[in-house]
């Protein structure tokens, strides 16, 4: 293998420059215009056998196209003495004189730049590129020769958390967060750049970063998250003190503080709260569409709101909120899908809650329907098991089943009002397709046992595929998937199974998170 620029390519560059490579790359490898793509579609065939075969190469001297498998490009090179060819799939250069592909920094820079333009033009973001260590990273790797390899039975990433006095509400959520693949990738690749320069001690994101280091250090003794607790007390005052707290409330408060701290105190991105691009928003933010339909003129007014989690009602519905002529009165939901169906059905708002219709110019009775406009990478569901009415707190402990893989297709805004004929068929097909874009896979479940007034939180986390663990403060015990699915589930999280997305879910006795 030749890793230095070969002499033949050097001669070619010296006499003809880089332009031939650039032109071929722009037109036949990374197309940056519709015209180029048309040309590519039409002319990328072997000039000898007239077929679009794999490993098509273009001669760098005369733009002859030939396939490699049937040796047409080789024959061309030999007969014409044109020794250099470009692979039309990857843009690498093959030198027939050297007998192998050759690599050249200048050429690679051009290819990289072209690739970027093409991706922008196509609207592809976050495309995959292999990791190339920088000089500094090479140095660090040489200084630290110890390597760790993950095996199926490795326990790395698993660590108990000491209970600091009724802090199981925090521990269970921390376990779910530290096993969120996208957060783990972000923090372990050291991508956080602290924005709170003056007092980075106060930055919760920095603390999360340290926490990930602790979890994935390979240490097996329980970790004491006192710094995290202190920061939470400082930034979310309502959670301060040694009383029992709600895990879901902690999750939301934590995401909120993390989101704030990502932006830092410079306020640059503060001007547009809905277009934040921080890691928390990238992973957790979804869009909920709310359609209010006027019963008089059927005018629909639509709003879209961001969400971090979805709180789902349990227990039977009250009659007054039902459709006047509604046939689908909802029984007490017994599965997550039921809960979601209930969440996304049209709801009659009642005669006492008239809404001003912009078409009728008057207050009219209306229906409201919520659907998913945009799904987050991590979907977090919270089952409202605690009922707080005046004078009493009650816990609804109905068993709610949830799947290991969740398909959100039926709850999308695009599925709304299309419950007929063809569209329904499309939806069914989409649902049966093995990995639709709306599929999530369960990765964490938070459970609560006890009553509405006092109890204990535990969680289940998926360490890697099919390896589940039950975390109860300092204890971490291997669990079976059946145990996870049998648990009551408060918060479940799932990860999306799309572009680098594996949706997973976590549930606790009251909440579920699907990442």
């Amino acid at each position: 293998m030749n890793t230095k620029c070969c002499p033949h390519l050097s001669v070619f560059k010296a006499t003809k420059g880089l332009e031939p490579f650039r032109i071929i790359h722009t037109y036949f490898i990374s197309c940056t215009s519709r015209e180029a793509r048309k040309r590519k579609a039409k002319s990328c065939v072997c000039h000898t056998c007239r077929q679009a075969r794999p490993r098509l190469h273009s001669c760098l001297s005369c733009v002859y196209f030939g396939c490699y498998g049937l040796k047409h490009i080789q024959e061309h090179a030999k007969s014409k003495m044109h020794n250099l060819a470009i692979d039309l799939t990857y843009g690498t250069i093959l030198c027939f004189a050297c007998g192998d592909y050759v690599y050249d920094t200048e050429i690679e820079h051009i290819a990289e730049a072209q690739q970027k333009i093409a991706e922008q033009w196509m609207g592809v973001t976050n495309s995959f590129s292999a990791w190339e260590p920088t000089d500094k990273e090479v140095e660090l790797l040489q200084q630290n020769p110890k390597r760790r390899r993950l095996t199926a039975n490795s326990t790395i990433g698993l660590r108990g958390l000491i209970n600091l006095g009724n802090t199981c509400f925090m521990n269970c959520i921390v376990q779910a967060l530290t096993h969120t693949p996208f957060l783990r990738d972000y923090f372990l690749s050291d991508q956080h750049n602290c924005q709170m320069r003056k007092d980075s001690e106060q930055c919760l994101v920095c603390e999360m970063s340290r926490l990930f280091q602790e979890f994935y250090s390979g240490m097996r003794t329980p970790h004491t998250p006192y710094r995290l607790l202190h920061l939470v007390w400082t930034h979310a005052r309502h959670l301060a003190g040694y009383e029992q707290q709600d895990a879901h409330e902690f999750l939301i408060a934590t995401l909120d503080v993390l989101h704030q701290h990502c932006k830092g105190s410079n306020g640059l991105s503060n001007s547009n709260p809905h277009h934040c691009n921080c890691i928390i928003d990238q992973i957790f933010t979804g869009g909920l569409q709310s359609d209010v339909t006027c019963q008089q003129c059927n005018n629909v007014s639509t709003t879209i709101d961001p969400f971090w989690d979805i709180s789902l009602d349990l227990g039977p519905t009250e009659a007054e909120t039902d459709f006047p002529n509604g046939i689908d009165k909802f029984e007490e939901p017994t599965s997550l899908t039921n809960c979601l169906k209930r969440f996304t059905r049209p709801e009659y708002l009642g005669s006492s809650a008239k809404i001003k219709c912009s078409i009728c110019q008057s207050y009219q009775e209306s229906t409201k329907q919520l659907t998913m406009k945009k799904l987050p990478l991590v979907a977090c569901f919270h089952l409202k098991r605690f009922e707080h009415s005046t004078g009493y707190h009650k816990k609804i402990s109905t068993y709610v089943s949830f799947p290991e893989e969740l398909d959100m297709t039926p709850f999308m805004s695009s599925s709304r009002n299309h419950n007929n004929g063809y569209s329904e068929q499309v939806i069914r097909e989409a649902a049966s397709c093995l990995s639709s874009d709306y599929k999530y896979s369960l990765y964490a479940v938070v459970n609560h046992r006890g009553t509405a007034d006092s109890g204990h939180y535990t969680s289940f986390v998926r360490q890697h595929k099919d390896y589940w663990f039950r975390c109860e403060d300092h204890l971490v015990i291997r669990a079976k998937l059946e145990e996870v699915l049998r648990s009551e589930g408060s918060v479940a999280t799932g990860i999306k199974l799309a572009v680098h997305k594996v949706k997973q879910m976590c549930s606790n006795n009251n909440n579920m998170i699907f990442l």
């Binding site: 293998m1 519709r34 793509r37 048309k38 590519k40 579609a41 039409k42 990328c44 065939v45 077929q51 679009a52 007998g99 192998d100 592909y101 093409a118 196509m122 592809v124 495309s127 995959f128 397709c433 093995l434 990995s435 572009v499 680098h500 594996v502």
Partner: protein, 105 residues
């Protein structure tokens, strides 16, 4: 008795493949599918497995003596065999969907 020319059948299939390929390229769908495939293969560990295999071959033959052709010859059958059925099915489904959309518009 009726017979059809197998050669003609083959030609037509090849023609159909070329047309589909052109449509995929012109619309940009091909690049999108490629990116999706890449993602799926990374997710399921296919890339790591093959990389490991390549490393072994390089070690065995010595960096100076191994060529891309050597690697391609050894890796291709293994690479093909290791693609999970699920991934193949998903890609096929996507191509079908694309074609039916093309037909409608």
């Amino acid at each position: 008795m009726f017979f059809y020319s197998i050669q003609e059948r083959k030609n037509r299939d090849a023609q159909m493949r070329a047309t589909i390929n052109q449509k995929l390229v012109v619309s940009g769908e091909r690049d999108k599918l490629k990116e999706l495939l890449r993602t799926r293969l990374i997710e399921c560990g296919w890339r790591d497995q093959l990389k490991q295999h390549c490393k072994e071959i390089v070690k065995q033959k010595g960096l100076e003596h191994v060529t891309v052709d050597d690697l391609v010859a050894e890796i291709t059958p293994k690479g093909r065999a290791l693609v999970p059925d699920q991934v193949k099915k998903e890609l096929l489904q996507k191509i079908r969907k694309f074609l039916s959309e093309q037909q409608q518009s």
